[in-house]
């Protein structure tokens, strides 16, 4: 029952899925650049990165959650609630930077609440977060009475759509979170325990690791990423609304799974998550650029998820799963 941290079983490296996705991404890029002269223009590439940024940030948090064999369905609602919190602070005259920081931290608190319920009360993550999903959305609606909050200071929109050289703050934030995620997963005890929690929680507990602490903080991290996404979304659209991020969790979870992180826990891939988010953003962008109805978008994304997950499962074949 001991836990192995070597890369094969702990599953940090599982490059096949990632390579496969990367291949799909390249084929798509080549195809799109042949069919549309606009695709490879810098402004369009910047658009793709900008659109992917929101998903990327939240997907990194979700990657850790899913690697513990958990799930966080409340992230979409957290985006709305933190956005509204920031909106109210700004309306009350708080400085922009302080409001933004407090908003992101509020996301962390909402995540921590998930984590405490899951770890201390041992309620299934699915149950807890489907509850808090409604709870946070309900709070957003009650607070705003269903109406959007708008009219923030112009400087506030910098986080969402300002220029930073040739890129913008959301892209920089997404890049930083990716680096942070990769670092945490690879080089810290915290990241290793996330995988181990998904692999064999009981074993981890018996060797004296404070399982509850690590579990809770992983949900805190997911909440923080959702808070950051809430900040970016509110700032980009210059509106905080209770419907923001509706069903966003399904996009995020789809990206994480597509990227090769295993729902059964114990396997995580930051690079896979990143490639998957970019792939989904390229598909969405490409369909608009080519003026194809996005009915096909749903279809295409569904096919890609099923095919790539099937292929990697088949590849894994008889590999013994460590939680057995």
């Amino acid at each position: 029952m001991d836990i192995k941290y070597d890369k094969k079983t702990s599953g940090i490296e599982k490059p096949f899925t990632q390579l496969f996705l990367l291949g799909v991404l390249f084929i798509l890029i080549i195809f799109l650049s042949i069919y549309s002269p606009f695709f490879l223009k810098w402004n369009n590439i910047r658009n793709i990165l900008d659109h992917a940024a929101l998903q990327l940030i939240m997907a990194i948090g979700m990657t850790f959650v899913i690697s513990t064999r958990g799930i966080d369905l409340s992230v979409g609602s957290t985006v709305a609630l933190t956005g509204i919190f920031i909106g109210l602070l700004l309306k009350a005259g708080f400085p922009i930077f302080l409001s933004s920081i407090l908003g992101v931290l509020a996301g962390g608190i909402l995540g921590t609440l998930n984590g405490i319920l899951i770890s201390k009360l041992k309620i299934a993550p699915y149950v807890v977060t489907i509850g808090t999903m409604s709870l946070y959305r309900g709070l957003s609606l009650v607070i705003t009475k269903g109406q959007p909050i708008y009219g923030f200071p112009v400087e506030f929109t910098y986080f969402g759509k300002g220029d930073f050289g040739r890129i913008n703050p959301p892209i920089i934030l997404a890049f930083s979170i990716i680096l942070l995620g990769a670092f945490l997963l690879r080089y810290t005890k915290w990241g290793q325990y996330a995988l181990a929690l998904g692999g064999n929680e009981e074993a981890l507990r018996r060797v004296g690791v404070s399982v509850n602490f690590y579990k809770t903080t992983i949900y805190t991290f997911s909440g923080l990423t959702a808070g950051l996404a809430g900040l970016i979304l509110t700032s980009r659209l210059n509106v905080a609304e209770p419907n923001a991020g509706f069903m966003l969790e399904s996009d995020i979870i789809a990206a994480v799974i597509l990227g090769g992180t295993n729902m059964k826990g114990g396997k995580a891939s930051i690079s896979g998550t990143v490639i998957a988010c970019l792939l989904l953003a390229v598909i969405r962008n490409g369909l608009t650029i080519l003026s194809i109805s996005s009915y096909y978008q749903q279809l295409l994304i569904g096919i890609i998820i099923i095919v790539s997950v099937s292929i990697s499962e088949i590849r894994q074949g008889k590999q013994i799963r460590i939680y057995n």
Partner: protein
């Protein structure tokens, strides 16, 4: 183990209470609405009186009022500002007409079965008539049939039901009052073209594909664009009524069509997202953007010269007409024709006439 079960139950209980609190947010709104009503001057804009008269003339002969009838209203969802506003309008009109009005809703815009269950619950509550706005064309049909059997008059306001399907199953509507969605798209597109005499490329941003409002408005606008000379409709993209999706689509559209001259969005939320996106990209100049609904936010944006126009009608007159129609039917009059609420274009030129619009 039992401890865990009890805790889970407790948690579920707490969550559902909060959820119910979410549903009851209307209560808070009611108070808020009253406060606002007291603060606002009671004078109506000239446009509003004009439209109210046009709508009311369709309802002659008027029913008797102040008879204390009980009317139940089932709307789509109070998570949508539109229906929150309609609820307030219904309640205010109810007071004006001296009748009891109760407004209920599904918890979210997608909850088709809960909306049906709510209707079933309403049928046994002894209303003199029920006004309903279904989430989709079919979800309320079984409830309508049960209302028919119980002898409760049913009036369909706004989004329609599949009347053929209803008839086949032996049900019927006692009255219908609605907005012509196709005409909304048509009017917006026509007014847009007036502002772009040289024509050029235009695009449409849809709501959820398949939703009545979205399909109707798209169809109306599409026909106008396709039949106009020098106008090229380059793209129709669904953004699911979502602000962020509409923002992203607009960003992508101007990459593929840098010479885009016009965007018609199927509601104001998406139109405002398009405005936001074009402003960010420094491409706002020379593009005409229209939405539908004329929300408070859109009103401010038109005044600030950010949004070019919107299509609307008076929710106040609309909800009042709905209640009057219900009263007529409850008092035994027969109304065979559908009643259509008149529509009006709001743009930079006439925005001043819309002060205090509701």
């Amino acid at each position: 183990m039992n401890f865990k079960k009890i805790l889970s139950l407790l948690l579920i209980l707490i969550l559902s209470t909060t959820l119910l609190a979410g549903c009851n947010s209307g209560e808070v709104n009611k108070e808020m609405g009253k406060d606002n009503a007291e603060e606002e001057p009671q004078e109506k804009s000239s446009k509003m009186t004009e439209m109210e008269n046009a709508l009311m003339s369709q309802l002659e002969p008027m029913p008797e009022i102040n008879k204390g009838e009980k009317i139940g209203v089932l709307v789509i969802s109070l998570t949508n500002p539109y229906w929150v506003n309609m609820k307030e309008c219904y309640e205010r009109a109810g007071e004006e007409l001296g009748i009891d009005v109760e407004v209920l809703a599904a918890p979210t815009e997608g909850d088709t079965t809960v909306q049906l269950e709510t209707l079933d619950g309403m049928i046994v509550k002894d209303y003199d008539a029920i006004i309903f706005s279904p989430i989709d064309r079919n979800n309320l049909i079984p409830g309508i049939i049960r209302a028919n059997q119980a002898g409760v008059p049913v009036i369909n306001l706004g989004p329609g039901v599949d009347e053929e399907g209803l008839k086949e199953q032996g049900g019927f509507l006692d009255g219908r009052i609605t907005i012509d969605f196709e005409n909304q798209g048509k009017m917006a597109a026509e007014d847009m073209l007036k502002q772009m005499p040289e024509g050029g490329k235009v695009a449409i941003i849809q709501g959820i594909p398949g939703a009545g409002q979205s399909e109707g408005r798209t169809k109306g606008a599409k026909e106008v664009f396709e039949n106009a000379e020098g106008v090229e409709l380059v793209s129709i993209q669904p953004a699911d009524w979502d602000r962020n999706k509409a923002y992203n689509i607009t960003m992508d559209l101007i990459q593929a069509h840098p010479d885009l001259k016009g965007i018609f969005a199927c509601n104001d939320v998406m139109a405002l997202a398009a405005v936001e996106a074009l402003e960010t990209a420094n491409e706002r100049e020379g593009v005409i953007i229209y939405g539908v609904d004329f929300t408070d936010e859109a009103q401010e944006a038109i005044i600030a010269d950010r949004l070019d126009g919107s299509v609307t009608y008076s929710s106040r007159a609309y909800s009042k007409a709905g209640l009057l129609l219900a009263l007529k039917i409850a008092q035994g009059q027969e109304v065979n024709e559908a009643v259509y609420s008149p529509l009006v274009i709001v743009n930079k030129e006439n925005i001043d006439e819309f002060h205090g619009w509701e």
